[in-house]
Amino acid sequence: MIEYLSGIFILTGSLLILISAIGILKMPDLFTRMSATTKASTLGVSLTLIGVSLTWLDISTFTKSITIIIFLFLTAPVAAHAIGRAGYFDKVKLWEKTLVNELKDKYDENTHKLN
């Protein structure tokens, strides 16, 4: 019984990982690419790890999996924020259909601080 549960978790996780890979290939822009990768890949890796540790049913594997999941959930937003900030100051080209750019003219170009 637990075998079927674990298999379904692993399949769902790998499907989400494939969706995030398609997202990083097909999205038009750095920022939309980041929104595709950070969400879908974090959920996919977490589901895969939960499925694998359900098969092992072992306290050490379970602890390691939970540690990896908590670490991913903590670090993925921080890393995405750092790359997005660097890309904004590096003047990465926005998508041509972008409507709103709320940060325009609000940053000092030389010191990278808010006006």
Binding site: S6, G7, L18, S20, A21, I22, I24, L25, S41, G44
Partner: protein, 90 residues
């Protein structure tokens, strides 16, 4: 061949295809930031691949690789982003 074995084989195929797609983005990415995002995603896919591989090889020592890869990917991403931003400061 039982159900779990079939799921492991299918997820190997899916994760392998996604690794190839992400590596293509690393090759062609227009800016350096695109490459860093793709490298981060590549490492996350590597964690999932090694955790599935531990079921395939029936040895749960492979979970430890995921722990190390998560740590190193985060540090590398932060270092690259910090460098790219600090480079532009005057």
């Amino acid at each position: 061949m039982n159900f779990l074995n079939l799921c492991v084989q299918i997820s190997f195929i899916l994760i392998g295809i996604s690794l190839i797609l992400v590596f293509f983005r690393i090759l062609v990415g227009p800016s350096n930031e695109d490459r860093i995002v793709a490298l981060d995603l590549f490492t996350a896919n590597g964690i999932a691949f090694f955790s599935v591989y531990s079921l395939f090889y029936m040895n749960n020592i492979f979970i430890d690789i995921g722990l190390i890869m998560a740590l190193i990917a985060f540090l590398g991403t932060i270092a690259y982003a910090y460098y790219l931003e600090r480079r532009l400061l005057k």
